[in-house]
Amino acid sequence: MTTIAHHLPALQVIVPMLTAPLVMLLKPAGLARAAAIAASLFAFAIAIAMTMGVLDGHIYTYRMGSWPAPYGIELAVDRFSVLVLLIVTGASSFALLAGQRSVDADISHDRQPLFYSAWLLALAGLSGIPVSADAFNIFVFMEISSLASYVLIAGGSNRRALPAVFKYLIMGTIGATFYLIGIGLIYLMTGTLNLEDMAQRISGVEDVNPIIVAAGFVTVGLALKAAIFPLHVWLPNAYTYAPNTVTVFLAACGTKVSIYLLLRFDLAVFQGNLVEHAFHFAAFLMPLAVLGILVGSTVAMFEKDIKRLLAYSSIAQIGYILLGASLVTIAGLTASTLHIFNHALAKGTLFLAVACLATQCTGYRLSQLGGAAKKMPWTAGALVVSGFSLIGIPGTAGFISKWYLISAAYEQGSLGIALIVVLVISSLMAVVYIWRIVESIYFGEPTSDLSSVREAPIAMLVLTWAAALLNIYFGLVPELPVSLSSSAADILLGPTP
C-alpha cells in the first residue's frame, strides 16, 4: 500500500484537473466557485507539503501508470519545481478567494461555472509543467494552460480583450509549435523524450546541426511564451483587458512557468552538453534582457493606464530574471530564480490592489483614480507596500532579489558594472512609475464624484493585505525562497566543475 506522500506529484495536477469537469456541471455559480476554491487550496496545500518534503532533502519522482522512465512518463519534483508550484497554486488561491466581486462584475452568473472550470484547467496546466519530466508531456500541459488562459482572458468585459486574446493565441501557438519542432529534432537525434535521459544522450551528439537548431527553436519558442522582449507584444493588452482576477493570477505565474522551462532546458538539458552553449545562451539573452528592462521601464513611465503600466513593468521585470540567468553563474541563477518568486509576489499584490480599486473606480486611467486613497486608505496602503516591493525598497521581498542580482553582477568585472548601471537606472525608473501611481491616488484631483466610493469589500482587503504583508515578510525573513532558489541554481548548473 502506498502512502499519500508518494502520490503528491500526481495529485498536484489531477486534483484541479479532475475538479474542472465537476465544476462545469455545478449550478449555481456560488457552488462552482466554492468547489474551485477548495480545489485550488488543496493544490496549494500539496505544494506546501512538497516544499517541506524537498527542504528535508527529498526528491519526488512518480511513474505515471507505473511504467519505468524513459518509456512511461515520469514526474519529478525538486527544489526548483516547488518554487514555481508555490507561486502557481498560491497565486491561484489568492486570486480566487479575492475574486468574487471582480468575476461577478465581468461575467454573468450562468457563465461562471465555465469560467471557474477554465480557471482550474489553467491551474492544472501551469502546475503540470513544473512537475513533469517529459518533454512532450510538458507540451501537452503547456497547451492546456494556454488554451485555458485564452478563455480566462477573453472573459474581460472590454471588447478589446478579444483581439488581445487572439493575438496571444496566435503567438502562443507559434511558440508552442516552435517548442514542438525543437523537441522533434532532439528526439530525432536521441530517441528519447525524458528530460534526464535526453540530457545524457545529447552528450553523444552535441555538435550536430539538428541539436543546435533544436536549442534555438526551444529557446525562441519558450521566449515567446515567456514574453521576453521583443517577443512580448501579446502581453500588455492581454493583461490589461483580462478580468482583474485573471490578471492577478496570470501576472503572478503565467510567464514564470515558461521561464522556468526555458531555464530547465537551456541549463539542465543543453548546458554542459552543447559546445559553448553557455556563451550562446548568454550572448542571446543578455542583450534582450537589458533592452527589455530599459524599454519596459521607459514605456511604463509614460503609460497612463494603471493595468497597462504594470504590464509593461512586468516586461522589465522578466528582463531582470533573464539578466540573472544570462550570467550563467550560481549567484546569477540564484538571483534569477529568487526574482521569479519575489516578482510574482509583488506583481500579484499590485494587481490585487488594482482589483480592489476597480470595485469602486470608473476606469483604469491614472487620472480616473485621482484621490482614491482618501476613500480607500487600506487599498492604497497595500498598493504602496507592493509598489515598494517592485521598486526594491529594503524591507520588502523585491529588495532581496535586487540585492542578489547586483551581487551577482559584481562578480562579472567590468561587464558587471555596466549591468549594475542598467539595474540602477531601471530601479529609478520603477520609482518614477510607481510614484506616478502613488501621487495620483493620494493627491490627484478626483475626476468624478467620490462620495459614493467606499473601501473595497473586506474579504478582498484582507487577502490583499495578507499578500502585501508577505512581501514584507519575505523581505525580512527570506530564508525559504533564498534556500529554494540557491539549490535551484545548483540543480540547473549541475555539479560545478
Partner: protein
Amino acid sequence: MIVLFGIFLLTLLVITALAIVRNDSLYAAVILNGIFSLLMAASFFLLDAADVALTEAAIGAGISTVLFLGALALTGELEKSPTKHRLLGTAVVAIPTLLIIFAFFDIPQFGASDAPVHQHVGPWYIEKTPEFIDIPNAVTAVLGSFRGYDTLGEVFVVFTAGIGVLFLLSARPLARRNEPFVARDPHKGLRHYLVPRVVGRFLIPFIFLFGLYVQFHGEYGPGGGFQAGAIVAASLILYSLLEGERRCLVVIPSGALRWLVAGGALLYGGVGVVGMLLGGNFLDYNVLASDPVKGQQMGIILIELGVGLTVTGVLLSVYHAFAGRGKL
C-alpha cells in the same frame, strides 16, 4: 512506385498550401484546407502511420472544415485587406526555415533502421506490448497505457477548447446587450431537398456504426476514441444539417452534451484514480484486474471510451455553439 506516389502527393501538398495562402475567398481556402488535410492523411498512410492518417482525415478534413464553415457563416467569406508586412513576413519566416535547412545536413537518413529513434525507447514498445498489454495495435498501447498521461492531458485540451467555445459564445454581444437574440431559424435544414435527405438518412446510421466500430476496434486496427468521437460527431452534425438543429438537439439536448463532455473526461480520470485506490500509481491499469494484462486491456477500453465521449460531446457542443449563434 511508392516513391513516385509519395513525391506526387508531396508536390500536391505544397501546391495546395500555396493556393490556400494566395486565395482571397475564404470559402475556397477552407475547402482547399480540407483537401490539404486529405493529402496529408494519404502521406501519413504511406509513412506507415495508419492511426494518424485516420485521425487527420476525420479531424483535419472533416471536423475542421465543418468548424471553419460554421464560423465563416457568421463572419463573412471574403478577405478584404491586402497582405501586409510582405517583407517583414518573409524575413521573419526565412530565419527559422534556413535554420531548419541547416539542421537537415546532419539528420539520419530517411528510414534508416540505425537512426537513434529506432534504437532507443521506440523498439521497447514494439517488443514489450505483446508481453504487457497483448493487443495488436502498438499505437493504441502506447497511447492508452505507456503514455496514458499524455492522452489524459490531450482529452483535457479538447475539454478546455469545448468549455472555451461555450464560454465565449454564451456571452452576449456588448453592442446589443439589451436586445433579444436573433437566432437563426432552428427548424430550417435541408429537409425540403429530397436527394440529400434520402441519401443522408441512409448514410447516417452507417457512419454512426462505423464510428462505433472504430471506437471498439481500436486495439486491433487503426482507430480509437479520438477518431471514433470525430466520426460519431460527424454523423450527428450531418443529421443536424439535414433535419435542422432543433431536431438534433432533441436527440441529444445541450444539457446532456455537457454531461457527455464532463463525463468522458471524468471517466478517464476516474480510471486513473481507481488505479491509485487499488494500490498502484495513477493510470496504472495492472491493478484493475487480477491478471495485469487483462487489467491493461480493460483500462484501455475504458479510457478510450472516455476519450470518445468527450470528443463527441465537445465537437457537437462547438458545432451547436456556432450554429446557434445569430448572424450579425
